[in-house]
Every structure is written in structure tokens, then in C-alpha cells.
């Protein structure tokens, strides 16, 4: 089994009205329930707005803390799921459904270590 990060990117600023967002959130809950039932969900959640991000950088002398996301852009990481499935095709099957539900661009990446560092420690 391999763990994959499924990252959802969303445009900044635009929060859809409740009548649009509501059905999406319902489908997302069902999606997570199915992931759990398939014993494939490691962890998943949405993030707060990208504007609420804080970036820390060591400039050689001290750590500088700045406001805002690491990369300037019109889209930012909005939330993610970590799943544990046999291969990329299985990860893509789940991700495809997520793309259909959210209408957002989705990035799928395998974790470098099959078991995960924390779990093994």
C-alpha cells in the first residue's frame, strides 16, 4: 500500500454562496465516509483561507515571520486528503471523484516513504 496526498487547489477570495457550497459539502462528507469505509482514509481536512497563512524563513541570522502564503498566486492549497491505497490508479479513482465533486484542480502525489515517518517512529 502507498500513501498519497490529494491536494485541492482553490481560487482565492471567491467563497461560493451557501446554496452552491452546501451540496458540495454534503458530497464531500459522503466521499470521506466512503474513504473510511474502504479503509483508505489516513487524514483529510480543508484549510482556512490562504491569507491566514504565515511563512517562516531563516535568513542566515534569524527566523523571519511574514504574513501570507509562501507562493503568491491566484490559487492556493485549499485542503487535502491523505489516503492509503495500492497504486496510482486507485488514488486517481478517488481523486477523479473529488475533482467532479469540487470542480477544483487536484494534485496527487505519493509520499516518499511507504509507511510514513511518524507511524514508524
Amino acid at each position: 500500500m502507498t500513501q498519497y496526498l490529494i491536494a485541492m487547489y482553490q481560487p482565492d477570495g471567491v467563497v461560493p454562496p451557501p446554496e452552491v457550497l452546501g451540496p458540495i459539502m454534503e458530497k464531500l462528507e459522503a466521499f470521506n465516509a466512503d474513504l473510511r469505509a474502504a479503509n483508505a482514509l489516513v487524514f483529510g481536512n480543508g484549510l482556512t483561507d490562504a491569507a491566514s497563512a504565515t511563512v517562516l524563513r531563516h535568513n542566515g541570522r534569524e527566523v523571519v515571520v511574514t504574513d501570507g502564503p509562501y507562493v503568491e498566486g491566484k490559487e492556493h492549497l485549499g485542503g487535502f486528503e491523505i489516503i492509503d491505497v495500492p497504486d496510482l490508479d486507485a488514488a486517481l479513482t478517488w481523486s477523479r471523484r473529488l475533482a467532479e465533486i469540487t470542480g477544483l484542480p487536484i494534485e496527487v502525489r505519493a509520499f516518499a516513504d511507504v509507511r510514513g515517518v511518524v507511524e514508524r517512529a
Binding site: 502507498t2 498519497y4 495500492p86 497504486d87 496510482l88 490508479d89 486517481l92 496527487v108 502525489r109 505519493a110 516518499a112
Partner: protein, 405 residues
Amino acid sequence: MNPADAVAAVFREEYGRAVSVVLRTTQDLGLAEEAVQEAFTAAAERWPSEGVPERAGAWIITTARRRAVDRFRRETARGGKEAEAALLRQYDDDGDPDVFGDDRLKLLFVCCHPALSLQARIALALKVLGGLTTAQIASAFLVSETTMAQRLSRAKAKIRDSRIPYRVPSGSELPERLAAVLSVVYLIYNEGYSADLGTQADRAGLCREAIRLCRTISHLLPDEPEGEGLLALMLLSESRLQARSGPHGALIPLAEQDRSLWDDALISEGLSLVGRCLRRGRLGPYQLQAAIQAVHSTAPSASATDWQRVVRLYDALAQLAPGPVVELNRAVALAEVTGPEAALAVVDRLKLGDYHVFHAVRADLLRRLGRADQAAHEYADAARLAPSPGERAFLQARMRDLGAS
């Protein structure tokens, strides 16, 4: 055959098969390739003194598996005891020839996975299935060997790290994935057919390789008529190889080709495939394109071509796979049925200004309508955009003919 030639011949025939069989157990494309390359190195060292083994392919696979096991032992972190055990367990099952074909098909689906870039898919398919060297592929795609080596190693790393599965997709996934595989095969063919490649031999090699890959697909997935359709399309196109270029490599268009130079064996194989796949009643774009080529292949001359039928087939193709290039080709046939004026009206609506064939078609229609100045202008644009020297030479000759008349 001397032993060095024997190694080269076996390499050509067995490389892809050996990689796919070893990959089945190593699950690591880079490792499988290294092991098979080591086996061929061993063959080059030993066959001259020991003689070429009777079952050379099996010898290579057995040797490659041993090398892979050695590597697992050396690099225990990579796969561990479990993988080593799997390799050893499957040591003796390579007597069954049927599993080989299936393995190669799986490998082709790995190489053509939609998660890989199109360029990487083509390069990987040529490398691991065609047994082409990185230098050969680099020259075919006009990039440096270093660039191609990087592209290939990135693709292999992605297959390993993201765990692209080693299998033929099933059920609902298959049509989409097969379409990707077939389009890679057709791109390889077209690359060989038209691109400005290093040498004539490289081009012919790519075409042959594409046809060989497609034969494998249609043999292994006999229930998928599009595989047969693509094979027929390429065979019919290939049948005109001797007739489609002049003494200095200038392109000779279909209408002006000496049909006695067409390869009858390829035509009859292509025609029987077209008939067989169309009878299945599951039409697809490759089958329709093959059917169009079949009409040309059976016409005694360009003027005696059943152009009505060609137009009807393009109509069907436009339904299944709509797009401006299909419209352009349909217009060429339409010109033969309803005249150049009606065809020009269709062509003028298409937004294909960067495509040399668009300008070539437009030039030809304008020439037939007696609008020589405009035609010359279009031939110039077409020649400027044409990717191959043969096409450029043909278009420039057409332009000169206009000036002379």
C-alpha cells in the same frame, strides 16, 4: 550469423519482452532494464565462445532475473526478503510463451499511463518496448541525448515513486487508456512518417516499430476493433512508401503516385483488417480513417476514386471525432464531388492558420479556381510551415509551376 549479430538480433526481438517479464517481479522499471542490459552484456561476452543458446530469449530472461536477485541481495533496503522470494518463486515459469505477450501489453500500458507526459509516453514506449537506444530516440525527436536521458529517467522515477501499476486496465478504464496507448503508437508512426528526422533509416525504423507495437496490441486485445483499425490504417499508409517520394525525396501526393509501386501484400492485409473490424459494428476514429485509406487503396486511379464514399466516411468521422483537421480532409474529398468552390468555402471557415496542410489545401483549391496569385501566396505559407524537407520541396515546386504558367 556471427555471435555479435545474433546478440543484436535477439536484443531487437527480446528486449521488450525480457524487461516486461522481469518487471513483473521487480516492480521497478529502472531495475528491470538494468538487469536485462546486464544479461545482454553477459550474452555478448559468452555467446562468442559458448555458442548462441537454442532458446536465446529464455536465456536472457533467466540471466536477467538472476541479476535482479543479486541486486535485491545487495540493496536489501530496496525490496527486502519478500521481493527476493517473489523473484525466486517465479524463476521457472517462463516456459509458457503466452504470458510474454501479456506482459508486454502491461508494460505498454505502464509506459502510456495518462499520468505521464505525452513526450515521456512515446519515448518510454520506444525505449522499453522497441529496444531503441536513448541516442536513437533523441535523434528521432531532435533533442540531445542528455535531454532524452533526463526525460526517460524522470518518467521512470515517476512510475516507481507514484506507483503506476503494472497491469492492463480493466472495465471502464480500458477504452480511455487504450485510446491513449493507440494515440502514442500512431504518434510514433507519424513521427517516422513525416517528421524531419536524422536519417531515412531512423524514420523507417519508427514506422516499423509502431506497426509492430500495434500488431501486439491487436493480437493481445482481439476484442478491441480500434486496435485493428489503427493497424490497418498504418499498413495501408505504409503500402505507399515506395510511391510517395521522388528521386530527391520530394513528396509525391496520392493523386500523382505510381500505383504499381504500392505494396500489394500490405494492401491486402490492410483491407482484410478493415473489413473485419468494420463488421464488428463498433466504429471508431481509426477504423474510419482506415476505411478511407481502403477506398484509396482499391481505386484504380485518383480520378476513379469513389469520392462520394470518402465524403460519407469523413461525415461519420466528423461525428465521432469532430475537429478542424477532419473538416479540412473532408473538404479535399468534397472538392472532387462538388468542385473546388464549395470546398474552399468550407476551408475558409477553419482556423488552422499554423498548419501547413491547411495552406497547401487552400493553395490547391485556389489554383484549380484559376486564382494563381493567391495560390502562390498560400503555397509559400505552406512551404514555410511544412515540417519535412520532402513536403517543402513539393510545395516549392508547385509554387514554381504556378509562376511558369
